[in-house]
Symmetry: C2
DNA sequence: GACTGGCACTCGCTCCGGGGGAGTGCCAGT
DNA sequence: ACTGGCACTCCCCCGGAGCGAGTGCCAGTC
């Protein structure tokens, strides 16, 4: 059918353009893909597609390139999931299995993702908010100075140094420790915050109040929510010539963690890969970049987001497959820890 | 004197070239700097300088640009230390004073440095090797599973999960904890490693041996020695046109921490700023980049290196001043912690 | 009605040659 | 030792010509 072929043409154009980075013309299209029609027919189809807004020409009498809308259709309806090769799967497991702690997992994931997709990879650290308190530890640095260490179920560790108004003996410290742990250990962050806050506002609690306040602060410190690892920026070299219009704004965005978080968007349920194409994203300057993300976390609860950022002209099926595979694997690792 | 003026000419050329990014000619030079001689004289001087290898011409009948050797002379003998402005100093202190932990200090330093110099900033995390053990904490996750937390004097925290062959009661855990702390707390890493290693090889030590082994591994884990924070890569946009020959190799180098460490070189005594110009560095691909570094650490002991990386055509006095100032300030903060 | 072959046309890319200009090297003069 | 003058070099910019990939359209065929 005509309609089928038109879709096939759109798909072929996207694929060719992604691999050659050049506008694709009717003749080349017929040759490279086994379309059993003449270039003239394809031209008509392309004209129709352009009419509908899926394609454009950089200038009259040049080949066509997909528009954002064209990519959208491609991603939604035309791309078949590209399964990873065995070698790639093995690479993922061997690479990630060697990780020793959370930091290491995140760093390895970033590197892995950027290598698999040859794009810039972004991995958000698991959020505090939904994790639970595993343990609170106090270490006396001096009689009036205590190191407070907060250990969370995701494996994250936060630490603060606290100066107290009165010196604390070892026994008092131990008592304080068990008191705090009693109040917080095992609790989800939100609950721990509220019970500690009560303690922090109790004027009779003394040192306990001071420490509790610091803990509350550490727990609600959204700075750590915004922690992300970025890797593979060297891949931006393949972005094309337009350094100032495309690469520089992207590099800037990658450094601003707040901006980056917005770019990543809400963590979507693990398993569902989100694709944001060009102008669909929140930043005008990044109109020529796309973002492919998914959520991950233990028990497939989407505690954080991970994904890649690249030119709208990217290999969507491959990127989506890689992002999903890495997210799955990382989630499994977090399950074990 | 003739000789003095020739030096002045060299300095002027470096300064002008750095700010304009264009080969500088005799006429412009005389005008911009108050040299009381004619362009012809300057031309003679420049020819002499070129003869000696301090200057080159991109092509005959163009202005001169400094060679690496020219920059070297400039850095060694011609540049006056450019004191930071009051605003800059204040920026440093306000920016760094808000830091809550080691990670935060490092991250803020990177950002600060890149903003001050408008170059790529690199800050190495303080090495484990010369720091001391502040505390070892054990947290029971399950009867046979323990979270081991190692806290070092630099404020760094390492953690590992250990599976034991036999379950451990709370009392046993407490005993193990104090035993380990007795052996390691207060010791310099190297000493702690040797006493723990003895424990780890004692077949009668049971669980203690298992945990000790993990601790030894964590302490001698050089991975963390190579941890670095990088920032300001967007500044590479100002590197000029030669993306493939200059920017891409640099981006790649910045991602490979091992490479990066070599690029930073040995930590030099705090206060001494090291400048590596172009081909003086260890990598051919980075022939057009310079590195400005210095050591930092508590008590001005050079535990780690920080600095900036940029084109050979950079503002050396400004960069050196900024690097030194930030290193000093960070060292002071580490003293307090 | 869908497809095809043919044809005129468009328009970016590359190459080429000529002017303009910044800068140089050199030399004779002070 | 320095300067003014002058001829020369060579990059850079510009406009025009030629090329070629690709298009749109139209008349013709199944």
């Amino acid at each position: 059918m005509q309609e089928d072929r038109r879709l096939a043409v759109l798909r072929a154009i996207v694929e060719d353009y992604v691999s050659t980075e050049e506008p694709v013309g009717s003749k080349a299209l017929v040759e490279r893909h086994g379309l059993n029609v003449s270039p003239a027919t394809v031209r008509n189809d392309m004209a129709a597609r352009e009419e509908e807004g899926y394609l454009t020409q950089p200038h009259t009498s040049a080949g066509r390139i997909p528009t954002d809308k064209g990519y959208r259709l491609f991603v939604d309806r035309l791309s078949t999931v590209k399964p990873l090769s065995v070698a790639e799967k093995r690479a993922i497991s061997t690479f990630l299995d060697g990780a020793v702690d959370l930091d290491d997992v995140v760093q390895r994931s970033v590197r892995l993702l950027s290598q698999l997709t040859r794009q810039v990879a972004v991995v958000q650290y698991p959020t505090l908010s939904r994790s639970t308190v595993r343990h609170i530890e106090l270490v006396a640095l001096a009689p009036e100075r205590v190191l407070v260490v907060l250990i969370l179920s995701t494996g994250r560790v936060e630490q603060r140094v606290v100066d107290l108004s009165t010196p604390l003996s070892d026994e008092e410290l131990a008592r304080l420790r068990s008191r705090l742990n009693l109040a917080a250990t095992g609790e989800i962050i939100a609950d721990a915050v509220s019970s500690l806050r009560a303690l922090g506002e109790d004027p009779s609690a003394g040192s306990a109040a001071t420490v509790a306040k610091v803990l509350v602060e550490a727990m609600s410190d959204h700075r750590s929510d915004h922690r992300v690892a970025v890797g593979g920026t060297a891949n931006l070299a393949r972005f094309g010539d337009n350094f100032d219009t495309a690469v520089r704004p992207l590099l800037e965005a990658l450094e601003e963690h707040v901006v980056l978080m917005r770019l990543l968007g809400e963590a979507t349920a693990s398993g569902t890969v989100t694709v944001r194409i060009g102008a669909e994203g929140p930043y005008e300057e990044l109109a020529s970049t796309s973002v492919v993300t998914t959520g991950y976390g233990p028990q497939d609860e989407a505690l954080a987001t991970l994904g890649i950022v690249g030119p709208t002209r990217m290999d969507y099926p491959g990127s989506m497959a890689a992002v999903r595979a890495v997210a799955r694997y990382v989630s499994r690792i977090l399950d074990e820890a």
